[in-house]
Amino acid sequence: MIGIVDYGAGNLRSVLKAFDFIGIPAQVIGVPDEMKGVTHIVVPGVGAFGAAVEKLDASGFRAPLTGWVAAGRPLLGICLGMHLFLDSSEETPGSCGLGIIRGGNRKFTVGKVPQIGWNRVIPTSDPLFTGLPAEPWFYFVHSYYAVPDDPVVTIATADYGVTFPAALRKGSAVGVQFHPEKSGEAGLALLKNWGRL
């Protein structure tokens, strides 16, 4: 069972609908106690970094989520959900992320910002991309991108005036900058891969 964290800052209904569609049981979890009943956790996210951090803290999810990853259990961050895995963001200086992946988030300085649209992703050999086209297309909506301290955690990149991480993996934590729930077949295939890991 997959738990989708409802901390008040996510587009979680479309994520839930995508898991329903591919036949992987999923439910929304609103309090940390409900993490007991699930095997996988998704942190969605739309909005600003600082506001999301505040909501994550207010809903009591910070420590349970870091503990979850420390225990080697699967965690997926989508878009802002992934940004939260890092230490900080230029979007809200002084606001502390979960620190699961060391580094920060930076704003695009070239081109039309936010990036809204389909972009080609160049994956490494990570199992998240098993069975997908060699350079699959995904749908992106964001102004900021992750800048991890250790480049090894980047498991896929994309180009938008600058080469940025499209996906990160650190231990059992996986983050994707794009929206798999809005990326057609490639997105559903990726969610299926993750749900089976």
Partner: protein, 251 residues
């Protein structure tokens, strides 16, 4: 680099697609849910629904359609027509839309864009402009292209984006239905004036029109209705053509 998006547009009136779709193998050519699925399978990068029924009931049905489509189609969904308030926006976004398009209501009350962007983010707010040429400029029209608002279309696009619109859906009233090509000058004027994506609509008839809209009109996306509905061309054909023209499209 983002791919040039091909966006089928379904005009819906009280739950039925109008401007009949003439595909083979369609069980119900008037069912917006089935058509959205077909277009998504056919390579649509996004799907736009326009509620052309002016009634409250038509809007309620649209909400149910969006709810159902979002369970079965996993590309971005844009919904326009009859959205007059932030509450209307919230209702349709909650049902599963990713973006809402506003036209007349925004001209009547531009704070709708400001407020919508503040509540839901600019990425959800599409400003739809129906433009008609008046001498050397274009005016933005309201009420489905029937009434001249008197507002300069380019100036309105700039204001709309400043207020929070994250995308412009630009329809040329003059070119619409002619299949004689997009109004490239209008497109270029708007696309070079705003820092957000511009979706071209109205006038496409031949494959070369799409390349012109992108190359000369600086469009980021192409909205299509009857050419696709009538089976004149498929999304894959358009994408193959654009790829041969060395433009980025999603496979």
């Amino acid at each position: 680099m983002n791919a040039i998006r091909i966006i089928p547009c379904l005009d819906v009136d009280e739950g039925r697609v109008v401007k009949g779709v003439k595909f083979a193998n369609i069980r119900d050519a008037g069912d917006p849910v089935e058509l959205a699925e077909r277009y998504s399978e056919g390579g649509a990068d996004e799907i736009t629904f326009l509620d052309i029924g002016a009634t409250y009931r038509s809007r309620e049905i649209m909400r149910d359609i969006v709810e159902e489509v979002s369970r079965r189609v996993f590309v971005p969904l844009t919904v326009g027509g009859g959205i007059r308030s932030v509450e209307d926006m919230r209702t349709i976004l909650r049902a599963g839309a990713d973006k809402v398009a506003v036209c007349s209501a925004a001209l009547n009350d531009p704070t709708l864009l400001t407020e919508g962007a503040r509540r839901f983010g600019s990425q959800c707010i599409v400003l739809s402009i129906d433009a008609k040429r008046h001498g050397d400029c274009w005016h933005a029209y309201i009420s489905g292209g029937r009434t001249d608002s008197g507002r300069d279309a380019v100036a309105w696009a700039i204001e709309g984006v400043a207020r929070g619109a994250g995308e412009i859906l630009l329809n040329s009233i003059d070119a619409d239905g002619t299949q004689a090509g997009y109004d490239l000058e209008l497109l270029r004027r708007v696309a070079t004036a705003v820092p957000v994506p511009v979706v071209a609509s109205g006038g496409a008839g031949k494959l070369k029109d799409f390349a012109a809209a992108v190359r000369d009109g600086k469009a980021d996306a192409l909205l299509l209705a009857s050419l696709l509905h009538d089976g004149v061309m498929t999304i894959r054909q358009i994408k193959e053509y654009l790829r041969n023209e060395e433009m980025m499209v999603r496979c």
